[in-house]
Amino acid sequence: MIDFLSLFSYSFVVNAYLAGLCIGMLSGMLGLLLVLRGKSLIGDGLAHVSFGAIALGMVFGVYPFYIAVPVVVLASFGILMLSGKATLFGDAAIGIVSATGVAGGVLLASLAQGFNVDLFSYLFGNILAVSQTEIILAATLSLIVAILILLNYHTFFLTTFDESLAKASGVNTTLTEGLLMALTGVVVVLAIKAVGVMLVSALLIIPAVTALQFAKSFGSAMVFSAILAIFTITLGITLSFFADIPAGATIVLLSVFFFLLSLVWKRVR
């Protein structure tokens, strides 16, 4: 039987842990902001857009993530602009942009025969198949996103707590919202490799709502959420390797398990 330490002799497992560290940290931090702003499902919408963007990359023979990052960031701005229109209700904008992404992906897959298998592998992801290039890309983007979150931490706190108080304090709330959406777009694209288009929103939502069950301050909630996401991904990768089960689904089900555990803990506390 392979022991735990021997895991690290496999480069693809080490790559997966490194990717998990980056994705977990960012999805935990940003997920908290999205959940508290009532925008949990934006991750789901942007993941669907990335499906179309990845198909576009495949059609043009460009590395899919190079296309997906700018397209998803633009789509996040699109959702923001549509949401601001008085003629649209709540999350209808997410639905419109999300459906456009999926429909575009399916159409491109149908028109350009031959890459259907590759494209559909992105639906459920596989963090154990992360390449060296993807690790470098993920680490670079994660560093940029983490720095931007930390530089804007107090602005994010106030705009999330009360937008009118933030505006009355001279905070540019539109710019802050735009930045949050753009960062979410980047993280969604990165997280697709780990859990796939279908499950990416779980990484943004579940660690955050779990952290909210016991965090007393905004700072501790953000740290708990990130640590929980990293721990869940790492554990998911390990279980997936030993039990030969899909990594993405394992990570998501572990997240749900920890969430249920937090509810029980809160009740018996």
Binding site: L36, H154, T155, L158, L165, F218
Partner: protein, 253 residues
């Protein structure tokens, strides 16, 4: 002396069929204590929101501290306590300290980070509303009145020159209400200009020196002690004794 707030011919409408504010004009001098009263739907909260740049577009001219609203940036001079402070989401994770310190963000340039001096100012503000011992607990562990005091501490933490409050005493027990009014009196005596929306006209006459009675437009604007003799205001109440309506009925609607 330059007015701290100057509003000329302000009109604002939510939709094309109704005027929420019509041709509103008034000036507020530094050091005033102004109570804004009026029936429900009179546009009191809207007036404050327009004044703080929270809603647009409007017609007319607004100046804050002698600067047109469009180019005003010295928001640290203004402390704001919004209406309905109990709307804080029950799962929002924030300590009392985090909330009060956020009142210091105005005037900071990017990246907006707090210093040790800011932490000290935060604790001082909490001490002034007798909430210092609760600094590091969750906001949700507090009663409605205590939450209101925390948000009041947030409004004054940056030592503003103008304090704008939207019904600060609504739904509070008499003791907390009395504490808040006494606290505002002290702040006023220190030179802060106060603009407060209130339904609590039974008490406000004891503190405020100026009344702005609004019903989509300005019905009365002037010294509190002259409002009962004002013909326009008396006519507004159907010729009855205005003092009875204003001061014996806490809710004017």
């Amino acid at each position: 002396m330059q007015p701290i707030i100057s509003i000329k011919n302000l009109s604002y409408t939510y939709d094309t069929t109704s005027n929420t504010l019509r041709d509103v004009s008034f000036d507020i001098s530094p050091g005033s204590y102004v109570a804004i009263a009026g029936p429900n739907g009179a546009g009191k909260t809207t007036l404050v929101k327009v004044l703080l740049g929270l809603t647009a577009p409007y017609t007319g001219n607004i100046s804050l501290f002698d600067t047109p609203l469009e180019s005003f940036s010295a928001w640290e001079k203004i402390g704001y306590l919004p209406q309905h402070t109990n709307h804080i989401h029950p799962l929002f994770p924030a300590t009392v300290f985090e909330i009060v310190r956020s009142g210091l963000i105005a005037g900071k340039s990017f990246p907006k980070h707090y210093t040790k001096e800011d932490d000290k100012k935060t604790l001082d503000a909490l001490a002034r509303v007798h909430m210092k011992k609760h600094a590091h607990i969750s906001i949700h562990a507090l009663s409605g009145g205590q939450k209101q005091r925390v948000l009041l501490a947030r409004a004054i933490v940056a030592r503003p020159k103008l304090l704008i409050l939207d019904e600060p005493s609504t739904a509070l027990d008499p003791e907390t209400r009395s504490h808040i009014f006494s606290f505002l009196k002290e702040e006023h005596e220190r030179g802060i200009t106060i603009l407060m929306i209130t339904h609590d006209t039974a008490h406000i006459g004891q503190y405020a020196d100026t009344l702005l009675f609004l019903d989509q437009t300005v019905v009365f604007f002037g010294a509190f002690d002259t409002c009962c003799k004002d013909t326009v205001l008396r006519n507004y109440f159907g010729g009855a004794n205005a003092s009875e309506h204003l001061f014996n009925h806490p809710h004017t609607h």
